[in-house]
Symmetry: C2
Subunit: 288 residues, 2 copies
């Protein structure tokens, strides 16, 4: 399907993508760039990439598929750096958790020849441990991948992106960047913010370490996402801050309602509110 993948960013997402497309036989060769020599070396050792290069442009050169797998704030500068190195009709995608800012960055950085071949993508995948060393070829299997092409995106590029992710057994869905960002503010970005706040609320207490020693499996699962990469989440939260703040306001109103029940000892209403949450969560199935 492709000759060469230019992988820009060798972390969990990028490394797993490279392993997956190789295993699926979709590329012949992977050239990888990463800001640190350490992750480049790890990607080589893992067999995720064949060759490590020193610049994003060197990874793009000669590639007919390019994946950006870096914190979203780097999108514009990276696309500018590779723009001249991109061959005609090279499919370029990212994996960022926000899309309006990425679309804006691409419009600013890419020329009229390259922009139609940029298909913004967000695979909803992740695991407890980040870093290329934890890459796995099946990370994208059964996972949702949201594509946010615009009116100016080449139809052939969009079709290729669909085929590629489907070949990795992902479920592909198209959305507008705005709908994407609003949705993920609710189900991903805000939960991260809440998990960060809870961890800090505990560790700021004088007996924080004691408190953590009591925590069990509920806390383990609830707080897992608090271990996220600070640079990545700083970028996501800032890029999508209006939507995140809007979702936070809705959340605070619901927290107020629950605490109002505590304040007034209103067991009946408290039970009603918990039932609403419990019923919805019990009915929810990932990808259902």
């Amino acid at each position: 399907m492709f000759r060469q993948l230019g992988l820009i960013g060798c972390g969990l997402m990028g490394g797993s993508f490279a392993l997956a497309v190789r295993q699926a036989g979709l590329v012949e060769r992977v050239v990888g760039y990463s800001p640190t020599a350490r992750s480049r070396d790890a990607a080589l050792a893992l067999g995720a990439i064949d060759t490590a290069v020193d610049t994003p442009a060197a990874a793009a050169l000669g590639s007919d598929l390019v994946l950006l797998a870096l914190p979203v704030a780097s999108t514009e500068v990276t696309l500018r750096a590779i723009c001249d190195a991109l061959a005609r009709e090279t499919l370029v995608m990212d994996v960022g958790s926000t899309k309006s800012d990425v679309v804006q960055a691409a419009a600013a950085a890419l020329g009229s020849a390259q922009l139609p071949w940029f298909v913004p993508a967000h695979p909803i995948a992740g695991k407890a441990q980040a870093g290329v060393a934890h890459s796995q070829a099946d990370l994208y299997q059964n996972c949702l991948v949201v594509l946010t092409p615009g009116a100016g995106t080449n139809a052939q590029a969009v079709a290729k992106a669909h085929q590629l992710w489907q070949a990795l057994q992902s479920r592909v869905r198209e959305m507008t960047p705005a709908a994407h960002d609003a949705g993920f503010a609710a189900v991903s970005h805000l939960p991260h913010l809440l998990a960060f706040a809870l961890m800090n609320a505990i560790t700021e207490q004088p007996n924080g370490a004691d408190l953590l020693s009591l925590a069990g499996p509920g806390f383990r699962d609830f707080s897992r996402i608090a271990a996220g990469d600070p640079a990545l989440w700083r970028d996501v939260l800032l890029a999508n801050r209006l939507q995140v703040q809007e979702q936070s306001a809705l959340f605070r109103a619901q927290l107020d309602a629950l605490e109002h029940c505590l304040e007034h000892g209103d067991g009946a209403q408290l039970s009603t509110l918990i039932s609403q949450a419990s019923t919805a969560r019990t009915a929810w199935k990932m990808g259902g």
Copy 2:
């Protein structure tokens, strides 16, 4: 170690306890009571109990070990109901998530002969699906069990409780009821409240179902505890409301600090706050 376990409450916690003590050879016979015929039948079918009875007192009669595994608000009325049926030196324990209220309930309900043999217990165990049908004999293996005996608790009863939980391969720890309740407000009760509030904030939006269809593994883990039993969590949150509200205020202050960074585009401070959370969560190990 015991002849007969009187199990009062056949749910996930009670059913798993019965399976565990049987498997460890700690009891010869289990007599079970549960408010619904359905869970009594399920407990019988599962082999968790040998005999089902119609009242808590009937489960306590002839037992030298009694476990209360019911929502905490039922503690006082249940202890009153079994008090006269308890033989001398019968070890009575509960598994409730709050302890100050349970200690108070026991003091009000039990006589001077029975009260010293009541050892309040809180095993920090749980899983996604509640109900006796999901019971497992190894639920308490490697799990923390907090005991909150008081000055009036019989030393022999406390020693027996230690031995019993240790035989199930739990890690046993003693705390005061107040320290227990403050600690679990931080690491368990507040996280449940936040998870309930997030679910309700999403489902109250007109496109709530759409939003949930986007959610991935991070959301799955974060929101798992929102599926908790409404009656159980109503009781826990009301019983421990002062501590929960105190922890919620600390949480809100940290959420405010994070949102202040979003409001002012302060990436440096945002990154610092996320790093603090991420470092703490990465370093945390359950039971470590």
